[in-house]
């Protein structure tokens, strides 16, 4: 069997591991435009702060990569998929045949279309190379502007501020992290990050980047006419799935590639996983991309298993995230912002150490469909697990809103179902 994987991110890596776990004989080829071993994309932001070094970027030790027995074609783009003859074509014309093909091409940062956007010092952050370019620019940077307050924008801002750079985050919406959390929670985070030196300007836009060819960006202009001096601009306005190969090959796409629960495309020998796809959203009941790491990893694993002959289906996916700003931790998941048609309940207070806490739970009827935990995050994962359950939990809302919510607050029946029961005979044998 010939397995070919386009891309070398987490979706690709998990797929390769999943294939190898089931098929030790088949050949696996991984092709990627980037010339690095599979590395952690989120850590590109940590690199900026110096919280990790280059050695920590690869996702596995080299012995683990070797054990996968994969032929890597790194630093080379795939230009074409020929579904008829089941070949892919690499730049330079080389062809590779496949029996099963996986597209794990990820996404690329959305460009901003304003004057000056191509000046030196206007950066995006997606790749290891991007962070190297930013690090270079940082040597002459005193002030920076981050456009967009999502997790890429905010984690860049956090890194820059921790290096003592004067950072302003400019967001068009009324708050930072607007896709992740409601206004009340975002305000808690905002006042905390402002204390730590990140300035947030909401409900405004950067309309122009000012600078010269010689030295690059020197300022940005906002919609209200304000001018902010800066030597670096990081654009974090979301990502778009990389679809060119899929579209050219006639694979069905909406905003991203359409796949079924087994990660199959409309071609039975071609699978897709990760940021380039639009999998089934468990909470919205339709195909929708969340473009997050855990989903990419999980999808890759399912795709790989099925390519090697298994028959796994995913129930569905949804967005979730975890952030930490100098000790203020945030975990949010599902339809965390609530909105029309949902019931949002919240509570807040101060922890023993003086840090604020905030919780929100969102119900669709009696089902938990979203949550935000700021501060006391230790058992927030339980709420995430309950979102998947889709059972009546409305009567637990008060408990969920209280820090310290744990397994013992669940109805016994549900807890037992989650934890499993043990055959009493097995007990006698093992004790």
């Amino acid at each position: 069997m010939k397995y070919v994987i386009i891309g070398n991110g987490i979706a690709a890596l998990r797929a390769a591991e999943s294939i190898r776990g089931r098929d030790t004989e088949g050949s696996i080829a991984i092709i990627s435009g980037e010339s690095f071993p599979a590395y952690s994309r989120p850590l590109t932001a940590y690199l900026l702060a110096g919280w990790v070094t280059d050695e920590r970027m690869p996702l596995r030790d080299s012995s683990k990569f070797d054990a996968l027995n994969v032929q890597f074609h790194l630093g080379r783009m795939v230009e074409k998929i020929d579904r008829g003859s089941k070949n892919i074509e690499l730049e330079g014309g080389e062809k590779l045949p496949y029996d099963k093909l996986l597209l794990a091409t990820g996404a690329s940062p959305r460009k901003i279309d304003i004057p000056g956007a191509d000046l030196r010092g206007v950066q995006r952050l997606r790749t290891w190379n991007d962070s190297r370019e930013i690090l270079e620019r940082l040597q002459t940077t005193k002030s920076a502007v981050v456009i967009g307050g999502g997790f890429v924008g905010m984690s860049s801002a956090r890194s820059l501020a921790s290096k003592g750079i004067d950072v302003t985050v400019v967001v068009s919406s009324n708050r930072i992290l607007s896709q992740t959390m409601p206004l009340e929670a975002a305000e808690v985070v905002r006042s905390h990050v402002e204390e730590k030196g990140i300035r947030v300007m909401s409900e405004t836009d950067v309309v122009e980047v000012i600078g010269s060819q010689a030295s690059g960006v020197s300022a940005v202009k906002l919609a209200n006419g304000d001018v902010l001096a800066c030597e670096l601009v990081i654009v974090g306005k979301g990502v778009d799935a990389r679809l060119d190969l899929a579209q050219d090959a006639g694979l069905k796409c909406d905003e991203a590639m359409l796949i079924d629960a087994m990660m199959r495309t409309n071609d039975r020998d071609i699978y897709a996983a990760g940021d380039c796809t639009q999998p089934f959203d468990l909470l919205r009941g339709q195909q929708r991309s969340a473009a997050i790491w855990p989903n990419a990893a999980h999808q890759g694993r399912i795709a790989g298993a099925n390519m090697a002959g298994a028959q796994y289906g995913a129930e569905g996916f949804y967005g979730m995230n975890s952030l930490d700003f100098w000790g203020l931790s945030i975990i949010a998941g599902g339809l965390a912002c609530g909105g029309d048609g949902y019931e949002s309940l919240r509570a807040s207070g101060e922890m023993k150490n003086g840090m604020p806490w905030f919780r929100q739970v969102v119900f669709d009827g009696n089902n938990l469909v979203g949550f935000v935990v700021v501060g006391d995050i230790e058992k927030a994962g339980i709420l995430n697990g309950l979102v998947r359950k889709k059972v009546d939990l409305r009567h637990l809302a008060d408990e969920m809103l209280t820090p310290g919510f744990d397994m013992m607050k669940l109805p016994q029946e549900l807890r037992k179902e989650m934890l499993g029961t043990v055959n009493p005979l097995a007990v006698h044998l093992s004790v």
Binding site: W293, A297, G333, I377, R388, L419, A426
Partner: protein, 167 residues
């Protein structure tokens, strides 16, 4: 693979599991001095004050572990036997595993930007919490016996062909 199961009917909330876990994971592994060494207990007794029940919770080493998918640095991986193994050196304290654990059994060590979770005492035949549980509320047993699979991957084919029809 053998895992640890907790039976709340038998738990008397003595918290000896926490104590012995702490001892086992302290540098000296000595009961008389482990407290000075400040070890983290990787098991936690939780209470239902109204009913009077309690249960000891720890990493369940899920077969289909969501924390492994969520980990952005490759610090959580399955070992050859099926344990979910934690590599502290890789961990950056992003709390993605905490977000994804449906049992809430991974502890954030905020100061260190690391986590702590049960390792099943790999150098012991029976984990310390189990061998010191006076009521056999904790048992160490093969997973086939009643172990429920994680619900995230269903062992069945889901065919969404309708998604791909024209129009």
């Amino acid at each position: 693979m053998k895992r640890v199961f907790a039976r709340e009917e038998y738990c008397i909330a003595c918290r000896l599991c926490e104590v012995w876990c702490g001892i086992e994971h302290s540098p000296s592994r000595k009961a008389y001095k482990y407290r000075q060494e400040n070890p983290v207990s990787l098991i936690e007794v939780q209470f239902d004050k109204e009913v009077g029940n309690s249960i000891a919770m720890q990493c369940r080493h899920c077969e289909d572990a969501p924390c492994i998918d969520a980990c952005i640095v490759g610090a959580l991986l399955k070992d050859d036997e099926g344990r979910t193994e934690y590599n502290k050196d890789r961990c950056v304290g992003c709390w993605m595993c905490i977000m994804s654990c449906p049992y809430g059994v991974i502890k954030p060590l905020k100061e260190d930007k690391k986590i702590a979770k049960c390792d099943l005492c790999p150098h012991l035949d029976t984990p310390a919490c189990v061998s010191h549980c006076p009521t056999a509320a904790l048992i160490h047993t093969e997973t086939e016996e009643g172990y429920l699979h994680e619900p995230t991957v269903a062992d069945h084919v889901v065919d969404n062909d309708s998604l791909f029809t024209e129009g």
